[in-house]
Symmetry: C2
Subunit: 360 residues, 2 copies
């Protein structure tokens, strides 16, 4: 009694989007044939195909990719991107780079903005896994990466950006934090500065500590001692950085130059210097828009954050392809041949940095 069933369908589903069966009924074929037509399977009579196409168009049919991906057992065509602050141009450019690469593979990017909330980050990653994303690119906020390790161990490819994996294997794409910071600090020293202050993000952030190491190394290379009173870590936003810089500049024996570990701190330091009217020299990590327009000599460690994102995207896409290929071994075949195909070893790409000078 299929007729009865059909009428039930029609009644209860009013307003719902049309399904493949609606199309099939209208074209008077089986769902299978409709499916074939809509996936451009050639093994369909042209006349039938046209009928199905017409029906689909008339109904405004859209294939349900959720159902499809469930059936195929493949991924969902989504990649998760986990960042702390999209409003920071570094992250938005990274996101753009990632999206441009994965989009070329038909993948969409789900952005999760955690806003420094570590618990939120854990939940977010868990949710992305539950959503069966095909892979995750993350810039973890803190030093605990167990949630990412868990995701990776469940078979979800994970790529870290701007931090190395800690406690598990994963691809990552890094910036030469140490070298960039050392070079920029050395540049300040080569201009005769002997008291150089440091402003940076919270110590838990990998890039922050690496850049602090680079700063310290440059001082050591010049035979200068590290003066902890000149080091201020923990500033996340320009306003905090401005206050911290003002404190350093108000010391009895203030620094004659400042090195900042990221663009948020550089901008804050710039404001503090301008406000106090000193001619403190300024250097920082991250190039940023209008850095050339500040009317101050400025040395910046520049790198391509779009490219960072693109590289992360490429690494992830390769892993996703690898997984697809790796699982394709048909049931009973000669699988003992080469086992489950040894996966690529974890890769680590380090993006180079360069110094940029902006004049007054």
């Amino acid at each position: 009694m299929p007729e009865r069933r059909d009428s039930i369908r029609r009644d209860s589903r009013a307003g719902q989007p049309p399904t493949l069966r609606d199309v099939a009924e209208r074209a008077e074929v089986s769902a299978m044939t409709a499916s074939r037509v809509l996936r451009d399977d050639p093994r369909v009579l042209p006349a039938t195909r046209d009928r199905v196409r017409a029906a689909a168009a008339a109904l405004g049919y859209r294939p349900n990719v959720v159902a499809r991906s469930l059936r195929l057992g493949r991924g969902t065509g989504l990649v998760g991107l986990v960042v702390t602050n999209l409003a920071n141009p570094f992250y938005s450019r990274l996101a753009l780079g990632v999206d441009s690469v994965v989009a070329a593979d038909g993948l969409k990017t789900v952005i999760g903005n955690t806003g420094q909330d570590l618990d939120g980050e854990r939940d977010l990653v868990a949710d992305l896994v539950a959503r069966r994303v095909d892979g995750i690119i993350a810039v973890p906020a803190g030093s605990d990466q167990r949630h990412l390790a868990a995701a990776a161990s469940e078979g979800v490819p994970v790529v870290l950006a701007s931090r190395p994996p800690d406690g598990f294997d994963a691809d990552c794409v890094l910036v030469d934090d140490f070298g960039g910071a050392r070079d920029a600090t050395a540049r300040l020293l080569s201009r005769g500065h002997r008291r150089v202050g440091f402003l940076g993000s919270p110590p838990a952030v990998y890039t922050g500590t690496e850049r602090l190491r680079g700063y310290t190394a440059a001082l050591a290379d010049a035979g200068l001692p590290a003066d902890t009173r000149l080091v201020s870590q923990g500033q996340t936003e320009p306003a905090e950085a401005e206050r911290a810089a003002a404190r350093l500049l108000a010391l009895p024996d203030p620094p004659t130059a400042l090195f900042c570990s990221n663009n948020r701190n550089t901008i804050g330091a710039f404001r503090a210097i301008r406000a106090t009217g000193t001619d403190t020299a300024l250097a920082g990590f991250d190039d940023f828009e209008l850095a050339d327009a500040l009317g101050l000599p400025l040395t910046l460690v520049a790198y391509d954050s779009d490219e960072l994102g693109r590289t992360a995207g490429r690494l992830l896409v390769e892993r996703i392809r690898e997984r697809r290929g790796g699982c394709a071994a048909p049931a009973g075949g000669e699988k003992a041949d080469d086992g489950p195909v040894a996966p690529m070893p974890p890769r680590r790409v380090v993006a180079p940095t360069g110094l940029v000078e902006y004049g007054p």
Copy 2:
């Protein structure tokens, strides 16, 4: 012969994430019971519940939300956000605002960056619909909105940001483009300027034309004619804007002031003014970071783009709730009572703007 089936499962699914049935088998209960436990259904014996929980933990089980949403017929818990350029702080802040609101409802944001590509935008929207997102927030790049109209007509709630719907009904959240531009231009005129140039985005962009209207209205209010030679539309990036501004400044009778319809153009104009060394006055739409640091008097039309995003998110969430509620009428009930519940009429929220002055 269920045993045989099980062994097949176990073999062929090696490496795949565990399913509810894997959990059920391990706990020696039916899939149904496992399902109930994992959704905290109280109608399960504590002992059984503990067994199931233990099995799930041991296996590292994660519910497959894709399968769940397919079964429930509800949405996927995703909202699509369609923008042209995430690297523009306006869009990244908008995205942040949207995400913060929808995340509170357990929804994730899928960002689609179209990069001004109109075809790409159409495909993207189609794909979001095929992915069965619960709703779409869009800042369309061009003037053609038929793809959004199609999505809306298929029952996907659509909210437009920063442009009104054209040719269909949808909620939208706008900025007071006309008023803001008129006020800023009037401010320039009140300082005695009589030749005010205009730099703006391509004419197809709604905000661009509205802001041009505001500029023109301010001129008319002051009894000044509109001089088309002082109007340059079509610049999307600062570099283009800089060239266009330079052209205006090189006219035999150059403008003494410039009004720019967005931050990209304002930044370009700033560079041109600084390069030519004139003391051209500058005003523009959009506040931006470091605008106070340019060493030039600057009048900006400011508004809260986070709040714009949050408002868009709120409007969308309300529509999504409405849809959920509206479809909840159980099969045969007293549905003739109030029909399909009249939907809210389309809403239009206009965010206010204010003028900000930055000094030299």
